[in-house]
Symmetry: C2
Subunit: 385 residues, 2 copies
């Protein structure tokens, strides 16, 4: 096992009817900015519950944070916080709203151009406004980690930052809030969480036995509940498990002390920026092909994944690896998430521009061995045609 540090101070308040806990969780004298996305939090009553719980506090709202939240939009929230002297942020939504709120929290008192936060990957962040979240969409894990991904529309850049200052102080996870989500968002959430786990698990063995078992347990759970979450949207236990698994998938725990990959995300980000394909769908496109192309480097873990997650024990090693990769893609497809570039209208001509983007964003040596250079990324994209 590798040396590691693990520190996750976010308080999780989990379960049905937990939104009223905001009354205690948010300081009584806070000047609050609620950040949210589209109209669903209003429509399904979540925002009304939040407003009630905040009671007499000064509360303002900032709506319209888009999927793949943009610097351009978020800077308006930064201005509002500065202008109105607000001092506590409350993100009500999914990963995009929470990622955006982390950027706002870090940007408000940032002494230079806040885009530097992204360019420095968060290292220049010395403080942030305190904030909490009310999660409405299980997927990204942002509710219990210190990472954020922001897109700059002007330059077509989608960059990540991390900082210990942007852990949410608390996150309220009420699974009943997910009942009304469209099936496509649930399917995306399952795929997103699945690939988060794979990025931290499917590399090479370093003897992280608990990390492996945890990752395998989360993957098995997603395989079991993914289809159920689509078939029976108001199954409380299924939605509760989906919500908690998606959080555990990226709260730092299973990635502690083990190598991590993240190349699927880096390539996927370029697909989103260039073609507007939803984040999770880009992962479903890239991952199976990446596993196939990197099968030599990932051999030992692919065999372990085949055996422990998919119970594949017959056939020679290459066959077992093939079957594990196929089962992975079939799982995504079974949720209605297509895994081929062609399914999204993209052909071979799309590849060169994507490689140019990877180069422009410095993504020329990615993956757990930093050996996915542009020619390997080309192979991965060609394998996904």
């Amino acid at each position: 096992m590798q040396n590691f540090e693990f520190h996750n101070p976010t308080k999780i308040v989990f379960g049905s009817a937990t939104i009223p806990r905001l009354a205690d969780l948010v300081p009584g004298d806070a000047r609050v900015l609620i950040l949210c996305g589209g109209a669903s939090a209003e429509k399904n009553g979540t925002l009304a519950e939040v407003r009630t719980a905040l009671g007499e506090r000064l509360v303002q709202e900032f709506g319209g944070i888009e999927p793949n939240p943009t610097y351009e939009t978020l800077m308006h929230a930064v201005e509002q916080v500065r202008r109105e002297k607000l001092d506590f942020l409350l993100a009500v939504g999914g990963g995009s709203v929470i990622d955006g709120s982390k950027f706002v929290a870090a940007a408000v008192n940032f002494p230079a151009d806040p885009w530097e936060i992204l360019l420095s990957h968060g290292q220049q962040v010395a403080s942030a406004l305190p904030f909490g979240t009310v999660l409405t969409l299980p997927a990204t894990g942002s509710e219990m980690n210190s990472g954020s991904v922001i897109t700059r529309r002007a330059t077509q850049a989608k960059l990540a930052f991390m900082s210990p200052h942007v852990f949410p102080q608390f996150s309220i996870l009420d699974p009943t809030r997910t009942y009304t989500l469209p099936p496509q968002q649930i399917a995306n959430g399952v795929v997103d969480a699945y690939v988060h786990i794979i990025e931290q698990y499917l590399t090479y063995p370093v003897g992280g036995m608990a990390q492996d078992r945890f990752a395998e347990g989360l993957l098995q759970t997603l395989i079991e509940i993914g289809p159920q979450a689509l078939a029976t949207p108001d199954d409380a236990d299924v939605r509760a498990n989906l919500m908690w698994v998606a959080t555990l998938a990226l709260n730092g725990l299973i990635g502690s002390g083990v190598p991590q990959d993240w190349a699927t995300h880096m390539i996927g980000h370029e697909l989103t920026v260039a073609h507007g394909i939803e984040h999770a769908r880009t992962l479903a496109i890239v991952l199976p092909s990446l596993l196939n192309v990197q099968r030599a480097d990932k051999r030992a873990k692919l065999l372990q994944y085949a055996a422990r997650v998919w119970q594949i024990t017959s056939g020679d090693e290459e066959q077992r690896i093939d079957e594990a990769i196929n089962r992975t893609a079939q799982f995504f497809e079974s949720l209605g998430v297509k895994t081929r570039l062609a399914d999204y209208g993209l052909a071979r001509a799309a590849i060169d521009p994507l490689l140019a983007q990877l180069e422009a964003h410095g993504m020329t040596a990615i993956g757990e061995h930093q050996n996915i250079d542009l020619p390997v990324s080309r192979k991965i994209l060609e394998g996904a045609l």
Copy 2:
């Protein structure tokens, strides 16, 4: 899944050669009290490393904290902290030293008789001195939780308290520090961690799928590495996994959202108080018999435990449960930890006084259903003769 709150702010610094990190982790102007147990931390060089890392800070020491740390001993440390105006505690040792340090941290500024901390199970604790730990013995998980068990010699009471104020600020987990531990302490640590997991897992199903998978993964890991930890004491990976698994076994994660038992601990505590049997050994005595006596209530989880942890799939249900319980006891025995009261020189005559102690300490309705009353405890103890 049940509603839950999870909050664990302890920073883990894990790996070899991490003790020098104390230089950053302890405030530069801290007036430090190092708390430790017997002579081993001095003998194996850990204390010297700690002193070096603390540099020019004012540092005092308090040694001699015993296994099952006592109120009587710890109150001397409380007096020293008060007298010398110390403001930061550093526990260097295993669970007893850390539990003891938690009590000292809570007692120093406690406005009444500190024994009230135990009598109120921690609810009266409104603040505590900050403290960190350097773990030398993987077993109790105290390095990453807010619980503590203290014994009062005068009244033969062994009581627990919990308080969010006594999470360690940080814990340094250096697996190489465990190489020189006596085999008996390693065996006890494996059993202790194993039973911690069982107490939170082997109750009744509530659909906590991730919690179940995590618990099963930790149990499987202990079954795999327990014998190796004894056979090859300086296997870095085995000791690293043992240390991290023991921490994860009781840091609140696997117990969130699920029912918990803890009757094995409650009965075991009385065996320690009355007969001085080491904590882990009392658990090894009580657990197999308790599982057998409670097999109806625990039926579904016992079958799941048999299948997923021990891969027992043949035989009828009663046979599978029998085999899972037997394999559990055999696992403890294989580590040199005896599982029968007779192995410790105790016969039927010992049972009545133990029941009287349980009654005196209010332990008359324990377990996940609070249905282990004194007659059931009698059956459990008789089954362990």
